[in-house]
Amino acid sequence: MRTNRRGFVGGASALAMMSVAAPAVRAQKKYSDGASDTEIKVGHTGPYSGPASSYGQIGKTLEAYWKGVNDAGGVNGRKIKFLTLDDGYNPAKIVELTRQLVEQEKVLCLFNTLGTANNTAIHKYMNQKKVPQLYVATGASKWGKPKEFPWTMGFQPDYHTEGVIYAKHILANVKDPKIGVLMQNDDYGKDYWDGFKEGLGKDSGKVVKHVTFEVTDPTVDSQVIQLKDSGANVFFNIATPKAAAQAIRKAADIGWKPVQYLNNVSASVGSVMKPAGLDNSQGIITAQYLKDPTDKQWENTDDFKAWVAWMDKWMPGSNKADANHVFGFAVASLMHETLKKCGDELTRENVMRQAANFQKYKLPLLLPGITINTSPSDYYPIQSVQLARFKGETWDLFGDVMSAEGS
């Protein structure tokens, strides 16, 4: 199975390369800092400690992925040296670590650094230094601005777009909606909220209650009680996994039964729905772009089977229901493909050029119908989602794949 997938990917990349790179340039080897005949250095930071440490799993998946790549011979014969550091979700810390990676270790690029505030902290620095800050692990809408920040690119559908889609779905499907919103009080929460308001448009008065919480708060009980008391019949849950699960559970405990919308950030069966209680989670609606690891319908698809085999080999004992592993694998595959496309021209310029040159690329583990599309003016790799409803023990996709217009 693995060879099959690799064969496909290899073919696709060969095609892409033929159509893209100027043949004269391809003939000679060119390197920036961090690349050589034998090695490519890729840097990463993530929250292995601190309030967001549940996302540390992503970093562990990435590390395992590159181990697997090196085991299979590396990328175009070069081993990947993946340097991952713990930033504790602290913006002051990531500046220091990034400088360590860029100036001391001289990495070719940073990859999938996590957190909106953290990436903001190094945004300007990376662009001044002209070092790629690729496929960052945050869905804020500000990562797709190639004019001002040509060295930074996002990965997942941005939160703003997702918020618009929920709002439209509520207006079209819920009769006389009275909406209660629970929002994490930071960049990420606000991006969703702004998109949601934009989607509601003139109906923004339908939001009867909007409460916030801090990522460090131990519970969100009082916020959920306030939402219930407001008489809301729709609940939009903008929260990271821990708080999202607490909110779903609390709503059920106090007998509040609204139509629930849950942001994709927390649409993980393993780390949210199960802790919240499967009974309490029935009927919750979310938007997805990756194959959920608990959804039985993917079991016979090639890319999913390859992922399961990979998990068994490289991350034995890890919880396969944790969607962070799917995310990590998918985003690492995209990085892998980008480096492959660079061929022997491993310069920072070429890395960005290749990253901005995907047409309908079928990335493993994306939902059918969703592909990677980028261009020098479009720095949003994934811009489509499909809605799903929680049913039984997993997500049940419904409706069509929805795309946002490029912004």
């Binding site: 292995y48 504790g88 979700y89 913006p91 500046v95 220091e96 400088r99 100036e103 930071d186």
Partner: protein, 334 residues
């Protein structure tokens, strides 16, 4: 201060000024990144010194100096962002703002002793990140988005890199502040501060205005830590509420205890220690896991904790006190 130790201090300061000039000779050893790291150590030392003035020399506890650090950082950031004030002018501004905040906080703190005061300051440290996110202040503080700043530019066309200049700037501020602190502690006021720490009642009876000294010390302590915050805003070129969480206050306290309570040298050691451990904790925990083969996944804070316990056990007066004690023992043995 004895003249021998004065020579030592002078020597170290001169060395600190000369080392960056070696960059053309040893570009890998004296790299921009290393200088930046040393700058963060200098900033940490100033913050720890601020806490030391309060706790070590005046006997008042604070678990919340991260709050003053945040106020200093935000004062500098807002001034630079909104009013285009040059970075060097934000240092005195941050000092004044933090002095006032510290002084005002010191007033009710007069009524609180020991661990009650520690808890009140703890609450302050918890509150500040939330206040920074408050929606009425958002226009000023940028809310959760924080404020992106420019790095200090090299003045007068000096042939230095940004990081070298930042290093010199921090170093100059540090030398001035330590010199001022040493002078203050050697004066009547300094002796009054320490008298209050050692015997509150006796000091009061001697005619020292304890209430005034305690509140002013609180203000000065906050001003020192605030200056460190302002420097960090320039160094990092970004401020956000998440940078000033409760762990920051705890790190200052760790720096204080490890370096040496009631010692100026200890403040420097403490600052260096916490930056160093913070940076190498991950490498250390990986070393324990991979090379020693122990089956734990130690977090950075576990390493911090273990080191802290070990140092307190071995050197109850901190590293500065421990070294001084060992030095004295060696001399008397001879």
């Amino acid at each position: 201060m004895a003249s021998a130790s004065k020579k030592w201090v002078l020597g170290i300061v001169v060395l600190a000024f000369v080392v960056p000039l070696l960059q053309p000779v040893l570009p890998d050893v004296v790299s921009d990144y290393r200088l930046f790291l040393v700058s963060t150590m200098i900033i940490a030392s100033i913050a720890v010194l601020g806490l030391n003035l309060l706790t070590g020399f005046n006997g008042q506890f604070s678990l919340g100096h991260g709050a003053f650090y945040a106020v200093g950082a935000y004062t500098a950031a807002v001034l630079m962002d909104q009013l285009n004030v040059p970075y060097w002018a934000t240092i005195p501004a941050a000092a004044i703002v933090c002095f006032i905040v510290g002084y005002l906080f010191g007033l009710p703190a007069l009524k609180l002793e020991g661990h009650y005061l520690a808890l009140a300051t703890f609450a302050l440290a918890l509150a500040v990140p939330q206040i920074l996110k408050y929606k009425w202040l958002e226009g000023l503080t940028g809310g959760v988005q924080g404020i992106v700043l420019m790095k200090p530019e090299v003045p007068f066309g000096l042939p230095l890199t940004e990081d070298q200049w930042l290093y010199y700037f921090c170093l100059i501020v540090m030398v001035v502040l330590f010199w001022a602190a040493a002078n203050m502690l050697n004066s009547r006021s300094g002796r009054a501060m320490m008298a209050i720490r050692d015997q509150y009642m006796a000091a009061d009876t001697m005619g020292i205005d304890t209430a005034l000294y305690k509140t002013v010390t609180f203000g000065i302590s906050a001003a020192y830590t605030g200056i460190a915050g302002a420097l960090s805003a320039s160094a990092i070129a970004f401020v956000a509420p998440d940078s000033f969480n409760i762990f920051l206050s705890i790190k200052f306290l760790i720096g204080l205890v490890v370096g040496g309570i009631g010692s100026l040298t200890g403040s420097v050691i403490g600052g260096i220690f916490y930056v160093l451990v913070d940076n190498s904790a991950q490498a250390l925990s990986q070393f324990v896991k991979n090379d020693l083969g122990l089956p734990f996944d130690l977090s950075a804070y576990t390493v911090f904790g273990v080191l802290l316990i070990a140092i307190i056990y071995l050197m109850p007066m901190g590293i500065a006190g421990g070294v001084a004690m060992a030095w004295r023992k060696m001399r008397s043995a001879r």
